[in-house]
């Protein structure tokens, strides 16, 4: 170290990798099914929702309803999981932050990336289901990496902001929890976008989670590229959230030490 203030010069990727793996291991500690839960949870939820809307309430006759539900559940699960573990990430790794002058931004980003491992498993499940329901890969699928990349950037921005605020206002966590609960209903998971009355559609347009769900259904079920307005909205959402998140984080990070 050249300067006394101690600029951190460690191996950035090594740190990131270790943080991601640590998060991942802790989550399934002491569970007998372990990582399989990433697979079982959306499967069972899909089963429950399909059963309810096909048999109990009726009215859902779409032959690909399971794929339809999964297209909603996978983005929602990722959002809820990443937000919850991301918002508390700084406080949870207080030890690391107090002792080592690592770039603080790494911590929340690592927690989002560790959720990406679950996301990969769930996406594989979704793609498997799509194939099983006679929806083989096609050219529009090339859009999938693009929209997911934008979505992950968007969430990184939110998590950066939320984790910094959580250091000072500890009940950010409860706000995130109730927000997740409400969001389950406001994302078209088990209902279709078309039944929303016209005057409320703009509200959904500005909800990036709903936008991703719509884009996924466009690609996987309707088999055409997502509407360009959706992609544009998601780009704007990602840019705005990342800029705001980084700004909040930069502002607050100098005072982390006293508050953790």
């Amino acid at each position: 170290m050249t300067k006394a203030s101690g600029k951190w010069r460690g191996d950035f990727l090594f740190l990131l990798e270790n943080l991601v793996l640590k998060d991942f291991r802790i989550r399934y500690r002491n569970m007998s099914l372990g990582i399989l839960w990433s697979l079982v949870n959306p499967l069972v939820m899909m089963g429950v929702l399909t059963f309810i809307f096909r048999r109990v309430f009726g009215g859902q006759n779409s032959p690909v309803f399971p794929v339809f539900v999964l297209c909603g559940l996978v983005p929602y699960n990722f959002f809820a999981g990443a937000m919850l573990s991301g918002a508390t990430s700084i406080v949870d790794s207080a030890g690391l932050i107090k002792r080592v002058p690592v770039p603080r931004e790494v911590v929340p980003i690592a927690s989002v990336l560790s959720n990406c491992i679950h996301l990969m498993i769930q996406l594989a499940l979704l793609i498997g289901f799509a194939m099983a329901f006679q929806l083989p890969p096609a050219r529009p699928w090339l859009w999938l990496p693009v929209i997911w990349f934008l979505y992950i950037l968007f969430i990184c921005g939110l998590v950066l902001g939320a984790s910094a605020i959580n250091v000072f206002v500890r009940d950010t966590r409860y706000v995130v929890e109730s927000f997740n609960l409400v969001l389950f209903w406001l994302v078209p998971i088990f209902y279709s976008f078309t039944i929303i009355p016209a005057k409320y559609i703009p509200v959904y347009r500005f909800n990036p989670v709903a936008a991703l769900v719509m884009a996924m259904r466009d690609i996987l079920i309707d088999r055409h590229p997502p509407a360009i307005t959706i992609v544009a909205n998601m780009t704007i959402a990602a840019a705005v959230s990342l800029a705001l998140g980084l700004m909040i984080f930069e502002r607050l990070k100098t005072r982390f030490y006293e508050h953790i």
């Binding site: 007998s32 949870n41 069972v44 309810i52 109990v56 009940d171 109730s178 406001l186 209902y191």
Partner: protein
């Protein structure tokens, strides 16, 4: 015990600027989004013969007891593991944890019930003296929730997967309780599932007590008392049986 309830309540709101105002805002936001989804998007309507024609009130009165039950059970499940310090280091009666969670959720619930009574007066111009019977139903919900909470919490100590299983079970349970839909609209062959579900009795009773001035049918009280008593005792026995191993596993 009083300490635990206070700690649980305070712990959830430390450093909170809005304090327990959050307890008021959360159910209202939830109600708003459910009305939006079920009434406006899915177009669910009420039968002419039901207790009220206002979907808002129908949903509000129905989801209050469900929230109390759901919150108690889901938070109880993880409680023993979270408090493992207390259990392993001291002689601590771990069975009080779900009870204290129930009591702290009850504070929220009472705020919610007050809001429901208030909105019934303002929106429907009805005030039912029968709300004086509500504490009895809260007691039944308490027995049910603590009973189920005991089972979930003690299982969770041994099998950490219980939390995951529980979230699925509670989702299914929610849909099989007539909270956002009239019972009559559920197909005939699923009626037994609804009738066998103690929470549907509670939800129905809450609606009738809050919105109409009719006396409860004795059968309803008998069924609820039997259910909640049985589940409470079963949960207690189950918990006592598994408790012996807690200190080793935690």
């Amino acid at each position: 015990m009083a300490q635990l309830v206070r700690r649980d309540f305070e712990l959830r709101y430390v450093g909170s600027a809005a304090g327990w105002l959050w307890g008021v805002v959360h159910p209202l936001v939830m109600l708003l989004s459910w009305v939006f989804v079920f009434k406006i998007c899915l177009g669910i309507t009420l039968q002419p013969g039901s207790v009220t024609q206002s979907y808002w009130m129908f949903l509000f009165c129905g989801f209050l007891p469900w929230m109390l039950f759901n919150e108690t059970v889901t938070r109880s499940a993880g409680s023993l593991v979270e408090q493992s310090n207390l259990i392993t280091r001291t002689v601590f009666p771990s069975e009080v944890l779900p009870v204290s969670i129930f009591l702290s959720s009850l504070i929220h619930h009472l705020i919610g019930v007050a809001l429901a009574v208030l909105s019934a007066v303002i929106a429907l111009h009805t005030f039912s003296p029968m709300i004086l019977l509500l504490p009895m139903y809260m007691f039944f919900v308490g027995l049910l929730a603590v009973g189920v909470g005991w089972i979930a919490a003690s299982l969770h100590v041994y099998l950490r997967d219980t939390g995951q299983v529980l979230s699925v079970v509670m989702t299914l349970w929610f849909w099989l309780t007539p909270i956002m839909i009239d019972e009559e609209k559920i197909p005939m062959r699923f009626h037994p599932l609804v009738a066998w579900n103690p929470m549907s009795w509670v939800v129905r009773a809450y609606r009738e007590r809050l919105l109409t001035a009719t006396w409860p049918h004795w059968q309803e009280i008998a069924v609820l008392a039997a259910y909640s008593g049985a589940i409470f005792i079963a949960g207690g026995l189950f918990f006592r049986h598994l408790k012996r191993g807690f200190a080793d596993v935690l």
